[in-house]
Symmetry: C2
Subunit: 257 residues, 2 copies
């Protein structure tokens, strides 16, 4: 059964895109069929895989009722890894969809044919840093939420807010089944701040936290400028080891058929 995972955190710069791209690539490398959807107008996931902006190929059309998601899917040069690119036009979706009555469930409705067809094992949604329409649509469409979390104070403060939003999405009926499936500590550097943040997160989220912790590594920040996932840019480095370990732990939680 296909699973849809929203990689989201309204706090900016916590590693959402880096996690979406590298988890997708590592899962595909293990044989899982993956669709990565770039929901961010910044289109960072798109350029991290080496694609230029491709106007008209984003979810913008399907969100406002023009065309289907399936038509927007493009292959990448890595086996089992497919992409719906992001684009600046998604900014317009925030305004156009806001004016509609069903502004929460537009993406969920557009996803239904993909759910029925299930050509993928997992769909990952890379969300923009916001609490706006694109993010709430992703939460309404997803089975679960994966929260990348920087080991810093503002990120910790944001966890309460995202939990509030998840409760609202569940309680209003847009997506009663939505769960927080995982919390991933990112850009970890051993210092007092990080250690105290991790301690705090563990008391609130316990088992949900991935055992894999992603270390801070400049190679992870360099890889996107070459349009490569980390397992191709630095196959033997810390970043690749961490994201491969995350993919393995992820498949333990969601075994492939």
């Amino acid at each position: 059964r296909m699973k849809i995972i929203a990689v989201a955190n309204q706090k900016g710069g916590v590693g959402k895109t880096t996690t979406s791209v590298n988890l997708a690539a590592c899962l595909a490398h293990l044989g899982a069929r993956i669709l990565l959807i770039d929901l961010d107008p910044q289109a960072n996931a798109t350029s991290a895989l080496g694609f230029p902006p491709l106007e008209g190929q984003s979810v913008y059309g399907p969100l406002i009722g023009h065309g289907t998601l399936a038509e927007k899917v493009i292959p990448t040069r890595w086996p089992h890894l497919w992409l719906i690119p992001g684009d600046l036009e998604l900014v317009g979706a925030e305004i156009e969809v806001a004016r509609a009555d069903d502004h929460l469930t537009r993406l969920r409705a557009a996803m239904q044919p993909l759910r029925d067809d299930a050509p993928f094992d997992f769909i990952l949604l890379d969300c923009p840093p916001s609490l706006g329409i694109l993010m709430t649509n992703a939460l309404a469409a997803a089975d679960e939420l994966l929260i990348p979390l920087q080991c810093e104070y503002f990120a910790l403060e944001g966890l309460g807010k995202i939990s509030q939003v998840v409760d609202q999405i569940r309680d209003c009926g847009a997506n009663p089944q939505l769960i927080i499936g995982g919390v991933l500590m990112t850009m970890f550097m051993r210092n007092n701040l990080a250690t105290s943040v991790i301690g705090e997160v563990q008391t609130h989220f316990g088992e949900v936290i991935f055992k894999t912790v992603i270390p801070r590594s400049v190679r992870l920040a360099e890889a996107p400028s070459h349009g490569q996932p980390i397992l191709e840019y630095e196959p033997t480095g810390l970043g690749t080891a961490a994201y491969k370990a995350l993919a393995t732990e992820f498949l333990q939680r969601h075994p492939l058929p």
Copy 2:
């Protein structure tokens, strides 16, 4: 004459809030009368100054026509530093304002009484990481834009997008006078990636770039958890020295009367 500065960059986690709070505090310390407006639903600038969430005190009301900005201004415990706090209610503003015809210039109109009255030397707007309504309203209301920029690839890619948005705000007549007043390099650690990004930025922005570069320092990330600006949390450290230098350079560009 009062100047309104939007501290903005749609890329998440680049140091917008850290810069807004610490530049505001250092300018106030030098005697300038400062209003800091937290336009982010995350309300990070608000908590960085030690305030809890204060529902109903944000710009949300004035944006939808209820009350004035002046009523939302609260004093802080630092002389010359005033605040309009952020709040989760601002998420609603994105949706409500999107539905109005004048959705670009609501904040600019609400600012007019403050411009006429000019009780402050500078108003700093801490923007959320997005290209949505709150950010565009800030650009339409501001005299100039200060862009904090992390020395990394995605941040560099985003510069082109923010320049595009500035051109659109100017060309559509919402704010023909808007300029990019400064680009600030943040979280600087000497490595190849940072050096190549700075080189790239210099060819596009030249003189606009502040000579002051903010180094990466864990004290800057710790200070908000104590509700203190860096010049109070670590008065003799690197972070304080950098933001004091930035405040001095800022006043060279905008001399006080």
